[in-house]
């Protein structure tokens, strides 16, 4: 149990907290800053990477992910500096995946070469919609044509490219989404993240909805129909869902995200970043201050931005369920068998057709995945 993380792998997450503008649906830790001292931020991020790496020397790093915010606002040199720091005390796996989230705009596409030279081999583009009016509604700064061109550049520069779409939007019909999704699949992608629009607290959409605006969002039935249709169409296109909202051709899954869902170890650096790290048999949850200024000053003044809390055995079980059941592959049956109560509850969910159990693994069925919060709710231990 103590060294379980080894099976799932080891990853580094780097959070770049800045955006040019806040999107009305986004509740991530992002900030709009007038000017950013890139060199200073790169130094701080690299110093955090070094600090954790010195505690865990020799670990094999399977993935690095630059998320945000908008990491495609980073200078390629900053990306390179962080990656270099990660190689000093960790060993890069031969097939290491280095992903950077990028906005699909021409300014950013111009930096793709630089990122590739720094070591990035996969980009995840925030395309979000293939309709210009919808992009405007979502507060995006790019248009569909520009996004497609950026996607083309990315395909030529990186081995692997994914993009995100947001659906179940205001006034979106089932057929309209079907057409848009088919266009996306026609773009010769091998990985798609397809998220249903969720109105999160702390966003502009939340406030607008509370004020009685944001009408025409799909009801639960339509949203469920959209989800089912998405799975069908993607499956036909050989882009099976391997997770609740993620689709890939076999072998093209995001290795980085699989480490989260398979509950491996990951180091989180940057403002608001979270990590899970196993040290001498104890599993730690780490968290960094979310405000960029606070994070930066902690790094510069104390040499350590993160706080760590030891996870209890129940926390670990609950997190494994929560993350693992998101995956189509499910979790190892041994995990359930080790917990008699869980095993019993899982058996009842199998009876109700919400979970399956075969070949030594257990997971949520298609119906169960649509109700995953409830399924997980049934399984959580006290």
């Amino acid at each position: 149990m103590a060294e379980d993380w080894r099976q799932a792998g080891f990853a580094l997450y780097v959070h770049w907290p800045f955006c040019e503008a806040k999107c009305p649906y986004c509740d991530f830790n992002s900030h709009v800053a007038r000017s950013i001292d890139q060199a200073r931020w790169a130094r701080a991020l690299a110093s955090e990477v070094r600090r954790v790496a010195r505690e865990t020397p020799g670990r094999v790093l399977n993935s690095v992910f630059f998320g945000g915010g908008t990491p495609s606002l980073m200078d390629p040199e900053s990306v390179a500096a962080v990656l270099e720091a990660s190689r000093e005390n960790w060993v890069w796996a031969n097939d290491i995946e280095v992903t950077l989230e990028a906005n699909p705009r021409s300014v950013e596409a111009a930096r793709f070469d630089g990122y590739a030279r720094a070591g990035v081999n996969r980009v995840s583009l925030g395309v979000q919609a293939l309709r210009d009016d919808e992009l405007r509604r979502l507060g995006r700064l790019h248009g569909v044509d520009e996004a497609k061109r950026a996607f083309g550049v990315a395909r030529s520069v990186f081995d692997r490219v994914s993009f995100d779409l947001i659906y179940a939007r205001q006034d979106q019909s089932l057929t309209a989404w079907e057409a848009e999704l088919r266009e996306a699949l026609d773009m010769a992608v091998d990985h798609l993240s397809l998220y249903q629009l969720t109105i999160e607290q702390g966003t502009a959409f939340w406030d607008r909805q509370r004020a009685g605006g944001l009408r025409g969002l799909p009801d639960e039935d339509l949203a469920a129909d959209m989800y089912d249709l998405t799975n069908e169409i993607c499956a036909e296109a050989d882009m099976q869902a391997y997770e609740v909202s993620n689709h890939a051709r076999p072998g093209a899954e995001s290795r980085h995200n699989l480490i989260y869902w398979r509950y491996g170890d990951w180091v989180g650096v940057g403002p608001g970043a979270h990590g899970r790290l196993t040290l001498d048999g104890t599993r730690w949850a780490s968290e960094c201050p979310a405000a960029p200024g606070a994070w930066l000053s902690r790094v510069e003044n104390t040499g350590q931005a993160e706080d760590r809390t030891a996870l209890s055995p129940q926390d670990i079980v609950n997190e494994r369920i929560m993350m693992g059941l998101r995956l189509t592959e499910g979790v190892d049956m041994e995990f359930f068998e080790a917990q008699p109560i869980l095993n019993m509850r899982a058996a009842s969910l199998v009876e109700d057709g919400l979970m399956w159990c075969r070949d030594g693994r257990a997971g949520a069925t298609v119906a169960g995945r649509l109700l995953l919060n409830r399924v997980i709710g049934e399984l959580l231990v006290d």
Partner: protein
């Protein structure tokens, strides 16, 4: 020496809620310097939080005011501030018997209300001299001439010499004091040397003094140290402390005829004292008790359950303590599959129910679930026995029942004409029988014979909503009548939910059943399977709704940075489930019961 009768005036104030009764009492106390300015707080006499908050009087309160009148004499004015609500009609009638006159306070902007009527008639029954007082005359909307006319038309008393006041600003208060002395009669008679005859007007529990008894001396003299006897209950006590209320307790040596005061005498529970009882000396008793004593009988019952099952013992303690101070409130333990352990409690009426519930929640800090209020049915069984049914859950098999009788009330409603049609329709819909319809100025006065059961359901709410709040309503019990009554059960996913059972008229069962099923459909959260919600009489389903299965509840994004937050969210959701009650596979949140059973306030 006790005060001569000619210099005593005992009176009460009759008024509708919000018409300024307590404010006027405050002004009288203030102007006569009875309470030092710095000790004055709003609504001096309403001691309970609930009374102050709602502006209503629940317990009778008393104050003795010394007033130097314009004729140069100092008068003792005893004000008994009576409860203004029908639930406490008996207490009101007793308080009225303890005084000789009333101030009828009417809001000059609103006019006479139904509650005022009931209480003013009680005062007239008690042979009171009545001085009309029009309050709020400082407001631009005041129409004193119109309201005077209305008082004369509706109540039939002369209002030409009504005092015009503003209790808020103090205008006219000296005139009220003079009117009390000049126009209200002194106590009629009373022999200080006759055998003691004192009326028990009220009693309450004081944590320092024990039970405090408020009495009005009719005949004889009560002295500190006397041994007294309660003529109805037979209880014997020594008078430890004798005092008058100013409103703070001020010791006196004796109380003579016409006087009002309090005594203590190591009485353990308020239950041992009955409003309306006659107090006399043990050694030299009066030959006859005062007339008109009635023990109080609860008319509305409901279950009270703690929201948190662990608070059952706390609830028991609280109810026992409260009952010590309220003889009119009854309780017995009850268990419910839906709600666990609790108590079936009996009340004088809906306001009494609410007051008790509020006090339990506030003073004892216990969250409660209140089940649908039910009235007392008389069950006549085929074998000739007769039963009182307080709880629909106790309804015996229908085949053994010959017939059922239910309590009826006489309701008086005052309403502006434009809403009259709606009010008549409401009363007809509730199985009402019209007894009278008259006009009093711009308002209609309708009198209906209604089943109490239909009134405890949501009558107040409906009345308020169809008349936009312009109707006033009051009622009195009228006795029992046979009708076609049945027990309606509610089944959720085919499991009966006992807490939702109710007695209904057969003709109204479908409607009530449908309303309940529709309400529950909105209140029960969707589950991962579909849930039938049914109302049934015996084995026959009379209404049905289906709560469809939940289809989607999944978090779109959950990555490494979300683990902590999403886990907390799911754990919170799970903790929330613990507050649910389980019926087979269905979990029903506590709030669903509370809302489904929610009664009008």
């Amino acid at each position: 020496m006790s005060t001569p009768l000619s210099r005593i005036r005992n009176f009460s104030i009759v008024a509708h809620i919000d018409h300024g009764k307590s404010t006027l009492a405050d002004r009288l106390i203030q102007l006569t310097g009875t309470v030092a300015e710095r000790d004055m707080k709003e609504q001096m006499l309403d001691a309970m939080d609930i009374e102050r908050e709602r502006g209503i009087t629940i317990k009778a309160n008393t104050v003795r005011i010394e007033y130097p009148a314009k004729d140069g004499q100092t008068y003792i004015l005893n004000l008994i501030d009576t409860p203004g609500h029908v639930d406490f009609a008996y207490e009101v009638s007793r308080s009225m018997r303890a005084v000789e006159g009333s101030l009828l306070v009417v809001d000059a902007t609103q006019g006479v209300e139904a509650q005022t009527l009931a209480n003013v008639y009680t005062a007239i029954d008690a042979n009171h001299e009545i001085v009309p007082v029009l309050n709020k005359i400082d407001l631009p909307a005041a129409e004193p001439e119109r309201v005077k006319e209305q008082i004369e038309d509706v109540i039939g008393i002369d209002a030409s010499e009504a005092c015009l006041i503003s209790a808020k600003t103090g205008i006219g208060i000296p005139d009220v004091l003079e009117a009390i002395v000049k126009r209200l009669p002194p106590p009629h008679s009373g022999d200080p040397d006759a055998p003691l005859k004192a009326m028990l007007v009220d009693s309450w529990y004081d944590s320092y003094l024990g039970v405090v008894v408020l009495v009005r001396i009719m005949d004889g003299t009560l002295r500190k140290g006397d041994n007294i006897r309660m003529m109805r209950t037979g209880g014997k006590y020594g008078v430890d402390k004798l005092a008058v209320l100013k409103p703070a307790m001020t010791d006196v040596k004796e109380l003579g005829p016409g006087e009002i005061g309090v005594f203590t005498g190591s009485i353990k529970q308020v239950r041992d004292t009955r409003v309306g009882d006659t107090i006399t000396h043990d050694k030299r008793p009066a030959d006859k008790a005062l007339p008109g004593f009635k023990p109080s009988v609860p008319v509305v019952f409901c279950g009270l359950f703690p929201v948190d099952a662990n608070e059952f013992e706390d609830l028991r303690d609280a109810i026992e303590k409260l009952a010590l101070n309220d003889a009119s409130f009854t309780y017995e333990m009850e268990t419910s599959a839906a709600l666990g352990f609790g108590f079936r409690c009996g009340f004088l009426g809906l306001l009494h129910l609410e007051v008790v519930r509020d006090r339990l929640e506030r003073e004892y800090d216990i969250d409660l679930i209140t089940t649908a209020p039910s009235v007392v049915y008389h069950l006549f069984l085929k074998d000739g026995t007769q039963l009182e049914l307080h709880n629909p859950a106790d309804m015996p098999d229908l085949s053994t029942v010959d017939h059922i009788e239910e309590p009826r009330i006489k309701a008086t409603i005052l309403v502006p004409d434009e809403y009259l049609g709606d009010v008549l329709k409401l009363c007809q819909d509730r199985r009402g029988i019209q007894l009278d319809l008259t006009y009093a100025g711009p308002r209609a006065m309708v009198v209906y014979d209604l089943p109490l059961n239909e009134v405890v359901f949501d009558f107040y709410d409906r009345l308020k909503s169809v008349t936009k709040g312009y109707a006033s309503f009051d009622y009195q019990m009228e006795g029992y009548r046979e009708d076609n009554l049945v027990k309606m059960q509610v089944l959720v996913n085919d499991e009966p939910v006992d807490a939702l059972s109710m007695m209904v008229h057969r003709d109204r069962a479908e409607m009530r059943g449908r309303a309940m099923c529709e309400k529950l459909k909105d209140l029960i959260p969707r589950h991962m399977f579909k849930i039938p919600i049914q109302a049934a009489i015996g084995g026959k389903v009379i209404a049905r709704e289906t709560l469809s299965a939940l289809r989607k509840d999944v978090t779109a994004k959950c990555y490494g940075g979300d683990a902590t937050r999403k886990k907390k969210l799911l754990e919170k959701q799970k903790a929330g489930k613990k507050k649910m009650r389980q019926f087979g596979k269905v979990e029903i949140p506590q709030e669903a019961f509370i809302s489904a059973l929610k009664m009008d306030s």
